[in-house]
């Protein structure tokens, strides 16, 4: 979508025009969903996080200055919500006291990603186990295909920092996934 059209839609949405905001939602929803999925690893949670990100974006339209594009800004909101979601899910699983509860069962019996034993499932699991920033840069750069510059804009850090986290994150992933290399050749 041309930047001028997007700006026009944002202005109308700020004035309370719901149709204008819906056009923005429809334009960005798949991308937001994919980013959320990269962090949370299941469809229902990805949909919930992405939808909530649009609600937060709508609520904060008044503070959106337009120095980054809407997509970058939304990306940041999705990422923050998704990381919080992962954090709270982990905390809940750790504090779960009833071993018979469905959540405890899921936390102990299943991998966090529902892809079973396939290669994609293993990659997503390895990603999920990275520290937050390393996970974020790997997802944004390699699964979403964003440039290092775009990732640095989303994370509000220098490109050098992005590259450092990429380097560390990818090294850790390789160690975790070394066993897959034979299967893939």
């Amino acid at each position: 979508m041309p930047a001028a059209d997007e700006q026009h839609l944002i202005s109308r949405a700020r004035e309370g025009n719901h149709e204008a905001f819906r056009v923005l939602v429809e334009h960005h929803m798949k991308h937001a969903y994919n980013v959320a999925f990269g962090f949370v690893g299941n469809h229902d949670a990805a949909a919930d996080v992405a939808q909530e990100a649009f609600v937060r974006a709508h609520r904060s339209l008044g503070t959106f200055r337009g120095d980054a594009d809407f997509g970058t800004w939304l990306h940041r909101i999705v990422m923050n919500l998704a990381m919080n979601r992962v954090k709270s899910d982990r905390a809940r699983a750790q504090h779960e006291v009833d071993p018979q509860s469905p959540a405890a069962h899921r936390a102990t019996q299943e991998p966090p990603f529902g892809q079973g034993e396939d290669v994609r499932g293993h990659i997503e699991k390895a990603l999920h186990e990275l520290p937050t920033l390393q996970r974020a840069v790997v997802i944004l750069r390699h699964l979403d295909g964003l440039s290092t510059k775009q990732v640095s804009a989303i994370l509000m850090c220098s490109q050098g920092t992005v590259k450092t986290h990429l380097f560390r994150g990818l090294k850790k992933m390789r160690v975790k996934l070394q066993f897959l290399e034979g299967e893939m050749t």
């Binding site: 719901h18 905001f21 819906r22 939602v25 429809e26 929803m29 798949k30 991308h31 969903y33 994919n34 999925f37 469809h43 990805a46 949909a47 992405a50 939808q51 909530e52 649009f54 609600v55 709508h58 609520r59 290669v119 994609r120 990659i123 790997v138 390699h142 699964l143 290092t148 050098g160 590259k163 450092t164 990429l166 380097f167 990818l170 090294k171 992933m173 390789r174 160690v175 996934l177 070394q178 897959l180 290399e181 893939m184």
Partner: protein, 264 residues
């Protein structure tokens, strides 16, 4: 040995380095087993990630995306219902206070009346009293003047947002719902309807206010921590009376009338 090249090794592995830096890295790698091992690990990880992957969004069908956008819209409307602007919230608070806390208000009004009576008796009378401005125009009885028209517009808008919020409320889990905010807004709207009914207006608007009032009173009066069936009853009422459609029609007519008056 020259310092390690870990800070640009990722760019080297990804093929993003300029020629001069690339040569520098290659020169370093030739004599540094640690960085060479890092490079191997990076390349292996990049190979894993470079497989063609179907984005998760492609696993969902078109109906999912329509429902997705609808859900975002519903959440926004529900949020606007729950958190109206600060000014509107203050107005609603005042309205509910006036409607439901009559005892302290009457006591206060009595005290003010006593002081006013004393002032009338003992204060020197001014030469002439100025008549207060009339709110409603004396022209066509079907046309609301500025303030009532604005209040009617606000009333319709708030009613619409409230009813959409109720219509879209998630009741699937069967748990009791907390509707205190919605009930407070209903009371404020019932109070506002009393003012509007005193203004001259066309029969269609009067009927709409009457229909809305029935649902709003029903909503205001249901028990605290009500069950889902109570909310379902209200939803049925909204659908039966086609209230959202009627509100939109009234808004369109008011908007059109406004524009016509501007053109005259």
């Amino acid at each position: 040995m020259k310092r390690h090249v870990g800070d640009i090794l990722y760019e080297y592995a990804a093929g993003e380095l300029g020629e001069a830096d690339r040569e520098r890295v290659e020169e370093h790698l030739a004599g540094c087993p640690a960085c060479a091992a890092d490079l191997l690990q990076l390349r292996a990880a990049l190979t894993l990630l470079q497989r063609p992957v179907t984005p998760p969004s492609e696993e969902r069908d078109p109906a999912f995306w329509t429902a997705f956008a609808n859900e975002v819209e519903s959440r926004i409307l529900a949020q606007e219902t729950r958190h109206p602007s600060r000014a509107a919230a203050v107005r609603d608070q005042i309205a509910s206070f006036v409607t439901f806390n009559r005892a302290p208000l009457l006591a206060g009004a009595g005290a003010v009346a006593l002081v006013a009576a004393a002032m009338l008796l003992f204060w020197p009378r001014p030469a002439e009293f100025r008549q207060p401005d009339l709110i409603v125009g004396t022209g066509s009885p079907a046309v609301l003047s500025d303030e009532p028209a604005q209040r009617m517009t606000d009333y319709l808008k708030k009613s619409k947002v409230l009813l959409i919020g109720i219509a879209n409320m998630n009741t699937d889990d069967g748990h009791p719902l907390d509707l205190r905010v919605e009930q407070r807004q209903s009371r404020a709207l019932v109070h506002e309807a009393r003012y509007l009914r005193r203004q001259p207006m066309d029969a269609r608007s009067a009927r709409l206010i009457g229909d809305l009032e029935k649902i709003l009173i029903e909503l205001a009066n249901i028990e605290e921590h009500q069950d889902v069936p109570d909310v379902e009853m209200i939803r049925t009422g909204i659908r039966r009376e086609n209230l959202l459609f009627k509100i939109r029609m009234a808004e369109t007519l008011m908007d059109t009338g406004e524009k016509e008056r501007e053109l005259q």
